[in-house]
């Protein structure tokens, strides 16, 4: 013991906490630790500073210091064009020194709304956008004031948006198909709503009604006889507006950021349920169903979106009998939805596979039917696991909306390209692309931040 126990070892504790040596804390310590902790590290720091010094000033000069921002008729020719951005250079020629943001200033309305505003109805997409924010808020965050009320609104929003943006009058059947959906889904989402029992009947009848209409449409195409038309007579062709009448604005006027958001939102809203069905189909015990789902998913995922869009614009019209055509926007939407649904299906499948077998067995043991066990037990868990993956596919989908310009739809990039085609703005492609890039960045970056935030939130939830 004598050689193992030394007096200086026998400390009774009580040593005060000391501040660390100055070289390891504060700015100096931080820099030593994070920037210059070794030779390689120091070289890294110097290279990084070099890159910043090399890139940043030029970018700032072009985008901010030398740029022209506001549309002023500087050269006094009566109109605001790119000429108002020109500066005389050393050689006496008029050239562009920095960015000419006047383009964005003048074309703002078109970049955001496309041709929607040409008859003064811009208030409709504006209200729809505000509505979108209100509808999304309760879905994104738990702690939103009036969350319950907003959830109801969120549910009704797609139907309000269609009415606001599209306007026009509808046939009875279309109204039933479209707005019937709201009534059919309601009781599935809200357990304790008044009159749920009655609405559940609608839920049960709705798929039958759709099947009947499909059958009727086929019958009509083949034999020229429609049960629906015969039964209803003049009612079948009577057109009315399901909500207060608004003038119809046809989809060819939709464009700009509004169109980008429309395509993005429709893709997001529809691809999730379809993706879930495809994922379930892919894990189904029925070989035929499984095979069809696998073929669909793998085919769509195996080809570039742009070839599918070509298909929509060049081949789809061939698929229908002559005289029947799909709206161009709808054709693009069909492709975008199918494309993202296939990706979504794979994300969801990952979640389904992560659910332990015991959960499936427990559901079976409770004598739940297949759909009930999926709806009540498996899907809620599986979807929660893959929320970050879902948000990531949404980001991908949103970025992919740019490709619709290839089939002649004017999304925000298409609108920007159209702007620089005009003689007044020729040669300002860079400004247009940077503007569009920044817009996309804002959307996608916030989505990815949200995804990270959500992931952290869900993680702590699990630990608890």
């Amino acid at each position: 013991m004598s050689d193992t126990l030394r007096p200086e070892d026998q400390l009774g504790g009580g040593l005060p906490e000391r501040a660390p040596p100055p070289s390891t804390v504060g700015i100096q310590g931080w820099m030593r630790e994070n920037l210059f902790s070794g030779p390689i590290n120091s070289i890294g720091t110097i290279v990084a500073i070099g890159i910043i010094v090399w890139l940043l000033p030029g970018i700032l000069e072009w985008a901010i210091f030398d740029a022209t921002f506001v549309g002023v008729d500087a050269n006094g020719d009566g109109s605001i064009t790119r000429k108002d951005c020109l500066v005389e250079n050393a050689a006496g020629l008029m050239t562009l020194e920095g960015a000419c943001w006047v383009l964005v200033y003048v074309r703002w309305e078109q970049l955001i709304y496309g041709f929607y505003g040409s008859d003064g109805s811009i208030w409709r997409p504006t209200i729809a956008f505000v509505g979108l924010l209100l509808a999304i808020a309760p879905l994104l965050f738990d702690k939103v004031p009036f969350r319950r009320a907003l959830l109801w609104f969120a549910f009704a929003f797609p139907f309000i948006a269609v009415w606001l943006l599209g306007g026009g009058e509808w046939k009875l059947s279309s109204v039933l198909v479209f707005y019937g959906l709201i009534v059919a889904i309601l009781p599935l989402l809200f357990d304790k709503m008044p009159g749920r029992e009655i609405l559940l009947w609608v839920t049960k009848i709705y798929p039958l009604f759709i099947a009947f209409l499909l059958f009727d449409a086929i019958l009509d195409t083949l034999l020229g006889f429609s049960i629906w038309n015969t039964l209803l007579g003049p009612l079948a062709v009577w057109e009315f507006s399901p909500l207060p009448a608004l003038a119809e604005v046809s989809t060819h006027k939709w464009g700009g950021l509004m169109l980008t958001i429309v395509i993005g939102m429709v893709g997001i809203v529809l691809s999730l349920p379809i993706g879930v069905v495809l994922a379930l189909g892919r894990r189904s015990t029925m070989p035929a169903v499984r095979l069809l789902c696998v073929i669909f998913i793998e085919f769509v995922r195996g080809v570039p979106l742009i070839t599918l869009l070509f298909m929509a614009s060049n081949m789809l019209p061939l698929f229908f009998p002559e005289g029947i055509e799909l709206d161009k926007l709808v054709r693009a939407l069909v492709v975008v939805v199918a494309f993202s649904a296939a990706y979504m299906a794979e994300v969801v499948r990952g979640g389904l596979q992560a659910i332990p077998k015991g959960q499936y067995e427990a559901a079976d043991a409770m004598a739940l039917t297949y759909w009930k066990s999926m709806y009540l037990i498996i899907l809620p868990q599986a979807l929660k696991i893959v929320i970050p993956g879902i948000v990531n596919s949404f980001i991908g989908l949103f970025k992919d909306t740019t490709l619709v310009l290839i089939i002649g739809l004017f999304d925000i990039l298409g609108m920007a390209k159209a702007a620089v085609t005009h003689a007044n703005w020729i040669g300002l492609a860079r400004e247009a692309y940077v503007f569009v890039g920044v817009v996309y960045f804002i959307f996608c970056f916030s989505m990815s931040r949200y995804s990270i935030w959500l992931e952290e939130k869900l993680n702590t939830g699990h630990k608890r």
Binding site: F178, E325, G408, A418, G427
Partner: protein, 338 residues
């Protein structure tokens, strides 16, 4: 019409619409109260949205003329922008009633693809533009050059043929839009910019220093650009053809947007027939008697349209050239109105 209604019962909710196969295009347009016109996605002076988002250009004026003739209102047009790839499918499938988008009238398109070109609203030809600094004076000196060319057009076929015929080599920089061609050319990514000479001139006018570039004398192709419709609906073809011809005749006869009301009292029998004060041409077309009056009062005559969008006083700055009336040395010529 009745036959496809049932399909639409379901389809309307998802945007399916019928162009009603049994009806004529005219009946469809009248029933719809709107003309659907396929245009390009943006060619300065021919069809491009302005700062207010309204489409304008000489191609647009053809659409407007047809709408004025058929519906009496030139503004009742729905413009469907089409890319060069999908324009023909759009017309074939009935998505648009007519196409007016700088499309060259060729044998294969007229015969092979089943369309009917109803006239020529711009006589063009493919040319070359080079920087003067290059010292080239003839297209035959372009061996080995890099050429900017828009894909999906007859331009690239002509280019291949021309260089091949003259035993010359080239490499192409393929671009999608006119604006990209311009960027490429100005930055020197290609030595030569080839497209229809009208577009060359239009592009040159927007350069910071137009005098540093020249358009070579060789015109290597005929490019009659004009509106087209589907084969098989003769009445509709006639309507589009004569709506456009009315603009040409009006210019020949000196009828303008400004004086068309005065001209109603003119003694010239052709003007009387044109403006519907004499004869029943409108009825024969299935239109109202004042169809041409509507065209001229709302759109103007051909010369006015030309000067408004692509003439020398516009940023495009094109000379009339071939597109001058036959009476003034050009080849613009409308069959007589009788």
């Amino acid at each position: 019409m009745k036959m496809k209604v049932g399909t639409l019962v379901f389809g309307a909710a998802i945007g399916l619409t019928a162009a009603a196969a049994n009806a004529t295009t005219l009946e469809d347009v009248v029933a719809r109260g709107e003309l659907i016109c396929g245009v390009s996605t943006g060619v300065a002076g021919f069809a491009a949205p302005d700062d207010q988002g309204n489409w304008s250009g000489v191609d647009i004026d053809v659409c407007r003329a047809v709408a004025a003739a058929v519906l009496g209102d030139a503004s009742k047009v729905k413009y469907v922008p089409t890319t060069s790839k999908e324009r023909f499918t759009a017309l074939q499938s009935g998505e648009v009633d007519m196409l007016s988008r700088v499309t060259t009238w060729t044998f294969s398109r007229d015969v092979g693809l089943g369309f009917e070109f109803v006239g020529v609203n711009y006589y063009d030809g493919q040319g070359f533009m080079v920087p003067k600094a290059l010292g080239v004076t003839s297209a035959l000196q372009l061996d080995g050059a890099t050429v900017c060319v828009q894909t999906g057009t007859t331009t690239e076929l002509n280019l291949a043929d021309y260089f091949r015929a003259n035993n010359m080599e080239y490499s192409a920089v393929n671009v999608e839009t006119a604006d990209e061609s311009r960027e490429n050319y100005l930055s020197g990514a290609c030595d030569v910019y080839t497209t229809d000479s009208s577009a060359l001139a239009a592009a040159r006018s927007t350069f910071d220093d137009p005098s540093a570039h020249q358009i070579l004398p060789e015109i290597i192709s005929k490019e009659p650009l004009g509106p087209l419709v589907r084969h098989g609906d003769a009445q509709w073809g006639d309507i589009v053809r004569w709506s456009f011809n009315a603009m040409v005749v009006a210019e020949e006869k000196g009828v303008t947007q400004g004086n068309v009301d005065d001209m109603k009292g003119s003694n010239d029998p052709e003007i009387q027939r044109l403006l519907g004060t004499d004869g029943d041409m409108g009825k024969q077309l299935g239109l109202s008697a004042d169809w041409a009056y509507q065209v001229i009062s709302q759109v103007g005559n051909y010369g006015e349209s030309f000067e408004r969008h692509i003439g020398v006083n516009t940023p495009i700055g094109l000379e009339r050239g071939l597109n001058q009336l036959w009476t003034k040395g050009g080849i613009l010529y409308s069959p007589p109105m009788r």
